[in-house]
């Protein structure tokens, strides 16, 4: 039964802003990083290009992209009031909410993949246009890093989706996501930052010694949040 709901969720993405976001968000990061590297005079190993893109992604764009993704996925149902139809279907609760969460996680993985591909292409472009680059970029290492960051972002993603699905208005999830991103940037160097869901992905790369903690908190906490969200939303009246 769940697979039907997951397929339906993917079908809804056709020609949607959600898919556009999933390509645009990582593309912005790579474009910005590429421009910065092309304008810089500093000679550096090309591997740092991947570090720059990953940092921009983890600290700024990923929390904002997760916020927007949650809002778009939820508003897709809130705006046409489609809960009034979907929730009358057999087996809809809790599968519809579980399917939404799974699709969100897949889309985060998709954004990470787009970022990975574009980062490699961006590095190639910088290497071609600048003759002072040295070293090489490691696709496998970058893929592993982005995968860990996506997994660590699960908790923040589920919290965002929960709020977005709970409220018909898009304002509460936007306020949450933007505020959390600002708090994350402001508190990134604090000792407690590792426990802040919107910073867990960033901590994967900024504090390698605490990588395991961030990954565990982010992924296990994300699964727990997902379960709580599904239980809560399934009991609500439409």
């Amino acid at each position: 039964m769940l697979h039907r709901f997951v397929i339906a969720e993917f079908l809804k993405l056709r020609r949607s802003l959600t898919l556009f976001l999933c390509v645009a968000a990582p593309s912005c990061v790579v474009a910005l990083n590429t421009i910065m590297w092309l304008r810089s005079d500093r000679a550096a190993p090309i591997g740092e290009f991947a570090v720059g893109a990953s940092s921009l992604w983890a600290f700024g764009m990923l929390p904002l992209a997760i916020t927007a993704l949650g809002v778009l996925l939820a508003q897709m149902e809130h705006v046409p009031r489609s809960w009034l139809h979907i929730l009358t279907l057999p087996g809809a609760r809790p599968n519809v909410f579980l399917a939404k969460a799974l699709v969100m996680l897949v889309l985060i993985a998709f954004m990470s993949t787009v970022l990975w591909v574009e980062t490699l292409l961006g590095a190639k472009l910088v290497d071609l246009l600048r003759d002072d680059m040295s070293g090489e970029i490691y696709p496998g290492g970058l893929a592993a890093l982005l995968s860990l960051m996506a997994a660590a972002a699960t908790l923040a993603a589920m919290l965002q989706l929960w709020v977005a699905l709970r409220f018909k208005s898009f304002v509460p999830p936007l306020v949450l996501g933007i505020s959390a991103t600002f708090i994350a940037i402001a508190s990134t160097s604090s000792k407690e930052a590792i426990y802040f869901p919107w910073l867990m992905a960033a901590k994967i790369m900024s504090e390698p010694q605490k990588q395991q903690v961030a990954l565990t908190l982010g992924s296990v906490g994300g699964v727990l949040a997902l379960i709580l969200m599904v239980v809560h939303l399934s009991r609500r009246e439409a």
Partner: protein, 301 residues
């Protein structure tokens, strides 16, 4: 034949629902919708129609009372119901066909089902257009097509004519008329448009402030105790009726029949013929649903 085979399509008993400590939106509501009927669920805006239908569809939980669908618990019978509640609830960025395809997959139905329901609502030609470009009438019809996926045995339509222009209302009426003819379908149509319901319903339930005021086959309700009579000389006829101590109303319009209360048509016919008058029209006067509605509301008040 077990109980489930003879049970009504929908039976509620003592259904009650309040929101936030306010007066109940649905108050001790017991309705019975016979199978293969077209049940007009009537009431003013805010009377509790949509809340009742949401309770039936499991979109809200009742505070008290029970719901049985075809003799089964609502959760068991959910696959037998198609519905359109409040608004068409469609994805604007998708085409009509894509919208149906999503629901079709969720219900586990074959792809051919889409063409069937599009045919029923006459939307086959517009199926590949994006819903964003649909008129309100087309949206309503597409939502009804979606509700028809899987040939549900109970179709619940909440205000299906809402916001439609006269042509749209006429199309909707003919669609609603043809649905029960297509098979073993029971139709519940909630509406505040009494004249529209009168044209399609076989049974009516009247709800006011969450309480059921009246429930009956429309045919039983519409046959009143008044008799219309016309003769070659209505003034003389009125005198005859007055002499027989019958209450007689003379309409303002010239040539309109007299309306007589308190006597069967046979007695009136005898009176006219005995009085030497030519009887040109004699019929039981049918009560309009609107009249019944206002009488019931006044009685409840």
């Amino acid at each position: 034949m077990d109980d489930a085979d003879i049970s009504p399509a929908l039976a509620t008993s003592g259904l009650t629902k309040s929101f936030g400590g306010r007066a109940p939106a649905v108050d001790d509501l017991s309705i019975t919708v016979p199978r293969r009927s077209v049940y007009g669920f009537l009431g003013a805006n805010g009377a509790g129609k949509t809340t009742t239908l949401k309770l039936v569809l499991g979109l809200a939980r009742p505070d008290k009372g029970t719901i049985r669908l075809f003799g089964e618990a609502p959760g068991v019978a959910r696959g037998k119901i198609g519905s359109l509640i409040e608004t068409p609830s469609l994805y604007d960025h998708l085409t009509g066909r894509e919208n149906l395809d999503i629901s079709r997959r969720l219900l586990g139905l074959p792809a051919s089902e889409i063409d069937r329901v599009l045919e029923v609502v006459s939307l086959s030609k517009a199926a590949s257009q994006r819903v964003a470009g649909y008129s309100l009438g087309m949206r309503q019809r597409l939502a009804i097509a979606r509700a028809l996926l899987g040939s549900p045995r109970l179709l619940i339509l909440d205000e299906p004519a809402n916001g439609l222009d006269p042509d749209g209302i006429r199309d909707m009426r003919s669609l609603l008329r043809q649905l029960p003819e297509a098979g073993d379908v029971t139709l519940i149509v909630s509406s505040h448009l009494l004249s529209e319901v009168e044209l399609v319903a076989s049974h009516v339930g009247l709800i006011h402030r969450g309480r059921l005021l009246l429930e009956a086959p429309l045919a039983d309700l519409s046959v009143g105790d008044a008799v219309e009579v016309s003769t070659g000389d209505n003034e003389a006829a009125a005198c005859l009726l007055g002499e027989a101590n019958l209450v007689c109303t003379t309409p303002v319009g010239h040539g309109e029949p007299l309306i007589v209360h308190g006597a069967p048509p046979e007695r009136i016919a005898h009176l006219m013929l005995d009085g030497g008058l030519d009887l040109t029209h004699l019929a039981r006067r049918r009560n309009a649903l609107e009249q019944i509605y206002h009488e019931q509301i006044a009685r409840a008040a």
